[in-house]
Structure formats: C-alpha cells, structure tokens
Point group: C2
Chain length 127, copies 2
C-alpha cells in the first residue's frame, strides 16, 4: 500500500466525482488514450476531457469511482496498474459494467511526475 | 492487422519456440519486467532470460506460443497490447493456464524500435 500511483489514482477518482476536469486532465499525457467503451477511444487531452464530461452527464452527475484490489508493475519510467474499478451512481441499470478490472498505463515525465498514457478501464474485456 | 507490434510479438513467439534467447531478449528494455507467474516477477534482461530458460525446461523444451485475438492501444511512444495468448506443449496437465488474456506494454526507443517493458501474460487475473 501507499504507492505514489495509488494516491494519484485516488486523486483522479476524486476529481471525476467532483467534476474537477482541470485537475483530472493534469494527470494525463498530451497524447493519452482513453477507452470510452469497447470500440470507442478518445485521443489527446481535449477529446478525453469531452469524454469525461459526457460520462458525467450520462451518470446524472452522480458518478463515484473507487478502486478495490490493485497490482502495480513498474519498469523504469513505465508502470502498468491493474485495478478493480468500482463505479457507483444514481442511474438505474446503466448499460456499462459498474465493476471492472482495469489496465492503466502510466509514464514518468522528465520531472518525475507520473502521467496516465493509456486509460483502459475495460482491461482484457476488449478481446 | 499488420501492426508492427503484431510482427514483433510473432517474432518473439518464434524465438521462444526455437529457444533463441538472444533474439528474444533483443525485444526487451534493459529494465523490463516479466510476470513469471502471479506473485513472481523477473526484473531486467538477465533475470528474464533465466526465467525463459526455466519455462522452456518446465515444458520439456516443447513450448509453442501463439496469439489469437489482439487489441493494440497506442499513445505516442507507449503501447498496450491486449492479446489472447495460446500455449501448446507436450507436457500433460501443466500447472499454469495455457490460454490467457495477456497485457504487454511496449515502448519506442530513441531509434523508433518497439521494446517490451512489461510482459504480463496473466493480464487482469493478477487481481
């Protein structure tokens, strides 16, 4: 417990809950990729922010993400986070899974800050 | 089809089958991480090569890896490959799964060559 990346992901979850998209986007690389749903990808900060705004709206501005079990594999300036992602909202019967095994890829930038390069909450369910 | 990374992974599978560990290791970063099995990780080229030699021995030098369905998510110099990995060998009832949904993280080096930084054939089954 207590890995820097756990704290960063916790900060991202709080930013999603609070719809604080400026803070949220500060944790992504310029050319990051977000899997919005299988087959739909947002590329770059502008598209990713738009996608998060649409996601917030879809969930009636009530989305609360949290992480359960987590494994972090670190190789130099690159890390793979495998995380049980739990979503809660007031929306009944959403058409997306609210419990997922996510894969998040982070990269350390020149100043040593971890940034998310690939945000795929669907994990291996893409295949 | 035909993504450069598909060809690289195919070349790695051939190198594993042929026990050509020099070629195999040329596709890894210096500080790469290999998940040997859940809870056991090899770090750096020397440990990864040793692990592959032990794996080859475990499978009576008959291991043949292949990939099925594959999704590649690319973000600048980083890529996440999600791949159905199929293992065959003459060993009966091996104590590891022979069909997996793997997560491979590749990075482009300064010369533009893709190298594997994190090799996790167990995918999200780690949690």
């Amino acid at each position: 417990m207590g890995h820097e990346l756990e704290q960063i992901i916790e900060a991202c979850d709080a930013a999603i809950k609070n719809e604080d998209f400026d803070t949220l986007m500060s944790y992504y690389t310029e050319d990051a990729v977000l899997v919005v749903r299988p087959g739909t990808v947002a590329r770059g900060k502008a598209e990713i922010e738009e996608a998060f705004i649409r996601i917030a709206k879809y969930f009636d501005n009530s989305i609360v993400p949290a992480q359960g079990k987590m494994e972090i594999l670190e190789a130099g300036d690159t890390a793979l986070v495998i995380s049980q992602t739990l979503l809660e909202s007031t929306v009944e019967n959403p058409d997306v899974p609210m419990e997922r095994k996510a894969t998040y890829i982070f990269k350390k930038d020149a100043s040593g800050k971890w940034l998310c390069a690939i945000d795929n909450s669907y994990g291996t369910d893409l295949i």
